[in-house]
């Protein structure tokens, strides 16, 4: 089971982690050939997610986002990767399932595992955006869009 840090995050620490998660997702999107590099970013991204769990706002934001979009995300993940993933909308449980599913596939089909990690971490990132103040969220989102399209 993933154990998040017990000390709460400061706002600046949380914002920095959201930026760090975004960078790993961007890197994942740009490693189409290099599955080994993709694996490093996926594992680092998972580590960032576990650190973000120390923030109650992130946990709440994920639960709300997941409740609203879980059905769509499940279908998207199934269509893109063929993997059937059931969201619980509890970030700790879903992050653990994300890690175990990723590890199950990375030694079987690394490209599929990369796509799965990218979609899942993007969902977590999208929910975490709502914890940023409006101006910062706009800047981070536009940078993310520019890097992945």
């Amino acid at each position: 089971m993933i154990n998040p840090p017990t000390a709460p995050l400061t706002t600046s620490a949380r914002d920095a982690l959201i930026g760090e998660l975004k960078r790993h997702i961007d890197a994942l999107a740009n490693t189409a050939v290099d599955v080994r590099q993709a694996n490093r970013h996926a594992l680092l991204g998972l580590a960032v997610v576990s650190r973000l769990m120390a923030d109650a706002r992130v946990m709440d934001a994920y639960a709300r986002y997941c409740t609203a979009s879980g059905g769509f995300l499940t279908k998207l993940i199934k269509d893109v990767t063929g993997i059937e993933f059931t969201f619980t909308c509890d970030l700790r449980t879903d992050a653990e399932a994300l890690r175990s599913t990723y590890m199950k596939y990375v030694f079987r089909n690394p490209s599929r595992a990369r796509d799965f990690a990218m979609l899942m971490m993007e969902a977590i990132l999208n929910s975490a955006y709502s914890t940023l103040d409006e101006e910062k969220a706009r800047v981070v989102a536009s940078e993310h869009s520019a890097n992945t399209h």
Partner: protein
């Protein structure tokens, strides 16, 4: 006898890797081997043998075909990929997993070795026949040729990618 071989050339190989660079000597040699028609003529000859017991030519089954192509697979797939796969822990396993998935072999590479992967692939792409009724000779030769090309070509692509990764990491000062 005509064989249906999947055409591959060096341009295709480079297009698959997405970048142009110097190929290693082993990759070049193996590439030359699998694109040389004489390789397949030799395989076809080796697949047909004289059986003194029956006084005629026998048609071997897929098990024999595996033995015939084993030397090429050992040199062009097992040795180079083992070097890559054993060199980097998790990186090596992921390289091997990419190779297996390219071959459409659905297996967890942390639980098997490269010989197992190739064995699974050969089992799926060679006609099996049985002791009583071997596969048709022409079918066996065609399948052996296409199967060997796929196994070696995808190993070359995997090595190319791994080489590209190392080269880029080196330029970045990451290794």
């Amino acid at each position: 006898m005509s064989t249906q071989q999947t055409p591959i050339d060096i341009t295709e190989l480079l297009a698959l890797t997405g970048r142009s660079r110097v190929l290693t000597e082993k990759v070049k040699r193996c590439y030359a081997l699998v694109t040389n028609p004489k390789t397949f003529e030799a395989i076809a000859s080796a697949l047909r043998g004289y059986d003194p017991a029956s006084g005629g030519w026998f048609i071997p089954h897929a098990k024999h075909a595996k033995q015939v192509i084993q030397n090429i697979i050992q040199e062009c797939v097992v040795e180079p990929l083992t070097m890559v796969a054993e060199g980097g822990g998790m990186d090596g396993l992921i390289t091997l997993a990419e190779y297996a998935s390219m071959l459409d072999v659905d297996v967890d590479v942390s639980a098997v070795n490269i010989q197992d992967i190739i064995e699974l692939k050969l089992n799926s792409c060679l006609p099996q026949g049985d002791e009583k009724k071997p596969p048709a000779y022409t079918d066996l030769v065609n399948a052996t040729n296409n199967c060997l090309r796929e196994i070696v070509t995808k190993a070359l692509v995997t090595l190319e990618r791994a080489g590209a990764v190392s080269a880029i990491a080196s330029r970045r000062g990451e290794s």
